[in-house]
Amino acid sequence: MHRGDDKRCGALDKGCGVAGYLLNQCIGARLDPIRWGRAGLTFPMATLTSGRKPSARETAAGVFVFLVLGAVLAWLLHTQARFSPAVSIAFQDGGGVAAQAPPPVRLPDLLSSWPAALHPMSPPESFSADTLSDKIDGKAEVYLAAGVAGMKCQRLALPATSSSWIELFVYDMGKPANAFSVFSSQKRADVTDLPLADYAYRAGNQMAFVQGQFYVEIVATDEAPATLDACAALAQAYVIATVVAVHANVSADSALFPKEGLVAGSVSLLSADVFGFDALKDVFVAHYRSGPDEVTLFIARRATASEARAGASALRGFFVDDCGGRESPHPPEPAGAAVIDEGGTFEGIFTSGRYLAGVHQAPDRESAVRWMKRLADRLSQSP
């Protein structure tokens, strides 16, 4: 036995020996202190007390091994922070599909041949969301709230006159629903619907329409027939040149409103601050007329039924707490509906599956309940 050399054993060696010893004990092994051979070694005592003194070179080798282990550990820790593509794609807002940048705004290829002999008066201008206000000043707020990605515009002169021109604005709203939202929120009161596209109108010297994710405005300097004809020709040419299917969802949701009593062309999508409540977003509203009464119905689709219920509860809280309304008793139908008396008008809120819906500014309680029931019937029929 080489007990005399105990002290020379490194702490690590001793540690290893102790750990080994304890492990042995833990699993109930009995040590067998056999002495044999001329060496007279005893296991596992030998691991505790093995008198082999490691040379300096051996210790250096051991240290070198540790350094390698340390380097490996450092490298691993460094690498783990650079996410694998499999991981990073899951975190690009909503997955790779949604994260794909929308196609860049482009003016139609008829740049080489404008219709109605229009010719460019100035070069085309391009703006991003940040610089939009450089062109349209405060009006940019409307578009920014709806998620505008960029805008291009160009002035075109009419052939005959030098005093008339028209300016073409193409807003890239990112999604068709956003384009529809700015279209409907800016729709003037006194308009002529155009057969040009699903959502298109002319109001005096201005035309506006939706083409997929783009909201297009054509503004003319006057309302002379020649000018208006040129506007119409330009709009037509643009639509023909940019064949983009309108996203189905916009039509689907807005088609949920009951037909009877609907004021034509009054369906719009409010993106934010609906009814003055900043937490209420993305709500379709439509105006209805029934006899002398005028009400507004609203429908909002949410991701889940519980989200719809939460939205309903928040809206109810807004009307009661912030607007000083008084809640009147629940009507029998629709189930779970709330009716709030705002002193002069009545608000009705209910949920139907994923839909949050209701009545805004109904003249009396009965009509609020009646309209809610009609709307609820309609919604329960849809998937």
Binding site: L12, R30, F66, A86, G95
Partner: protein, 596 residues
């Protein structure tokens, strides 16, 4: 500090790293998830994977360059990988140590004596590399079967598919419904067997079976440094054998290719230390061959060489299995089998557990290679996921970008990667064959536009022709009717009356009375005795082969739980043009996916 202590700590370190990398291999950014951890690192360090794939594909996959580190260290210092780093070896050594500490040293020395059977691993290596080597132009592609016994893929497979899911189940499953792997019993059985054999003979696998150990032994046999005799007097007590892991006979002429560099002999050797790790050749003599006879080697190599032609004659190419659906990004089948080392990393990272290790249903060569089983897992192959290609260390599954997988951007003209084609079994589909509405498959189809569309039909239900007894507004009382209340009230049923050109929605029914919709169009006179046909409006799913990518979500969701009414086969998969059924996109009749 003794070098054996350093070795123990190194083994603990590398085993812990291995365990960690296996644990975190799931898609996510949490600290116990993938993040950027190099989960396939041990597989990349494995020289047998590099050599095997180099033989079958005549190329070195970039990530496998790590194997050069292992090879260089082995050429210089001996089988330090086996002694210091190999996680499988660490398990064997530990279990062996547990098993033997109760024994007397004399028995231990006997157990660690060299046995000629230790040359078996070299024959196994020869056979496997022989099988891999036969790549003759287009005729044969070598078969890569190293993954069956290569310890690094084996230990990954065992932990990924058996040990971790077992621990997960025991700890109250974090994965919804638990993670399962087909054939886990065989994988677990092999693992358990190799581990338990250590109780009989220490490091049994390393000594007798391990082809990687054999390969490293080839590199190590003439290393400049290694265990050997210094020339100091050796009393020949034989105690160096007591803890010798490699059974390499350190007392006599040491067998250089068997020495695992466990360094234990340095500790147990008493006296004036004739044994040391020193520049070789050893003063005690060396045996640098490995007990492999020329005849035996030829037999093994030729036997291996025969595998590829035999598989070919067996119709491996022409009789391809249409039920074999490979992960998206997989290369064509022959090259796939030439690259897959059966590590099952892809099966581990698949977030929906739809990837499963094949058993023998697709041929013996495909054992433990990944295939989709749409009846298992949570969802079929997810559209926005590229995990399997990122996990594969040898390029059997290419690392796709999401754009290439979905056919967007630069890949728009090529279209999306398809792994198969769904087909509706009209004899089992509820709306096609059983008069019941469904279309779960269409609803769940994830591509846009949907690859499953519906064709609507209205048909008279079984025993659905009645006579009207009396009518009261919307309520029609039927003669001789015995309906269950609400039977026709689900919204799918219509009642066609005489005089109507189309049916009216049935809103409710009692035992003998139907309540139909009269709001949309008022009914005419309904005479008693006139016919009332109850019809059902069914939407029937139809697959558009130009859009279907074979993801299998439809098959997974189909309510026909046994033999599903919509099933995916490998037809039209993009990885093999020979499996295509349609002409290229843009040709007459086929709609291109991209809007351009």
């Amino acid at each position: 500090m003794k070098i054996s202590t350093a070795r123990r700590l190194a083994q603990i370190f590398f085993f812990s790293v291995f365990l960690w990398l296996v644990l975190v291999a799931s898609v996510g950014t949490g600290w116990t998830q993938w993040r950027g951890w190099p989960i396939a690192w041990f597989l990349q360090l494995d020289p047998l994977a590099a050599v095997g794939t180099a033989l079958t594909t005549h190329s070195l996959h970039p990530g496998l360059a790590w194997a050069l580190v292992t090879i260089v260290l082995t050429i210089l210092f001996g089988r330090v990988f086996c002694g210091f780093a190999c996680p499988f070896g660490a398990i064997h050594q530990f279990v062996g140590w547990l098993g033997r500490h109760v024994r007397r040293p004399k028995d231990k020395m006997a157990a660690n004596a060299y046995r000629p059977a230790q040359s078996i691993k070299y024959y196994l290596l020869a056979a496997m590399l022989g099988a891999a080597a036969l790549s003759v132009g287009n005729a044969f592609v070598g078969a890569l079967q190293t993954g069956l016994l290569d310890p690094i893929p084996l230990v990954h497979r065992s932990f990924n598919l058996v040990v971790l899911p077992a621990a997960d189940l025991a700890a109250g499953s974090r994965f919804p419904g638990g993670r399962y792997a087909t054939g886990a019993a065989l994988i677990g059985g092999v693992f358990l067997a190799t581990v338990l054999l250590n109780l009989w003979m220490p490091r049994f696998y390393c000594r007798f079976v391990c082809p990687l150990g054999a390969l490293l032994g080839l590199f190590a046999r003439r290393s400049p440094w290694g265990i050997g005799k210094t020339g100091a007097k050796c009393i020949e007590c034989g105690l160096c054998d007591v803890d010798c892991e490699g059974a390499c006979n350190p007392m006599g002429p040491i067998r250089t290719s068997e020495c695992l560099m466990c360094m234990n002999c340095l500790d147990t050797c008493p006296g004036s230390k004739p044994l040391a790790y020193l520049p070789r050749p050893s003063q005690g003599g060396e045996i640098t061959d490995y007990g492999v006879t020329r005849r035996g080697f030829l037999a093994a190599a030729v036997g291996g060489l025969a595998v590829a032609p035999l598989a070919r004659i067996g119709g491996a190419r022409t009789g391809w299995s249409p039920a074999l659906i490979r992960p998206p990004g997989s290369v064509a089948e022959e090259e796939f089998l030439a690259r897959c080392i059966k590590c099952c990393e892809c099966v581990r990272v698949c977030p929906t557990n739809v990837l499963q290790p094949a058993t023998t249903e697709h041929g013996w060569g495909a054992l433990w290679t990944p295939a989709l089983n749409n009846r298992m897992g949570t969802s079929g192959c997810q559209l926005n996921c590229i995990a399997c290609g990122q996990a594969c260390p040898t390029g059997a599954i290419r690392p796709l970008t999401l754009g290439e997988k979905e056919g967007r951007g630069d890949f728009a003209s090529a279209g999306p990667v398809r792994i198969g084609l769904a087909g509706v079994d009209r004899g089992r589909c509820l709306p096609w064959a059983m008069e019941r509405p469904c279309i779960v498959c269409q609803e769940n189809c994830p591509v846009t536009p949907k690859a499953i569309y519906v064709s609507e039909i209205v048909q008279t239900v079984r025993d659905g022709v009645y006579e009207v007894d009396s009518a009261d507004g919307a309520n029609l009382r039927l003669r001789n009717a015995r309906l269950s209340p609400g039977q026709y009230a689900s919204g799918d049923y219509e009642c066609k009356l005489a005089g109507d050109d189309r049916g009216r929605a049935i809103l409710a029914n009692t035992g003998d009375t139907l309540t139909v919709d009269t709001a949309s169009s008022p009914p005419g006179q309904v005479a008693p005795g006139s016919a009332a046909e109850v019809q059902i409006r069914l939407q029937r799913p139809v697959v558009d082969p130009a859009l279907c990518i074979g993801c299998g979500v439809c098959e997974h969701e189909c309510p026909m739980n046994g033999l599903r009414a919509i099933r995916v086969t490998a037809d039209n998969e993009t990885r093999d043009p020979g499996h295509a059924i349609l002409l290229a996109p843009g040709v007459a009749g086929n709609r291109s996916l991209s809007p351009t």
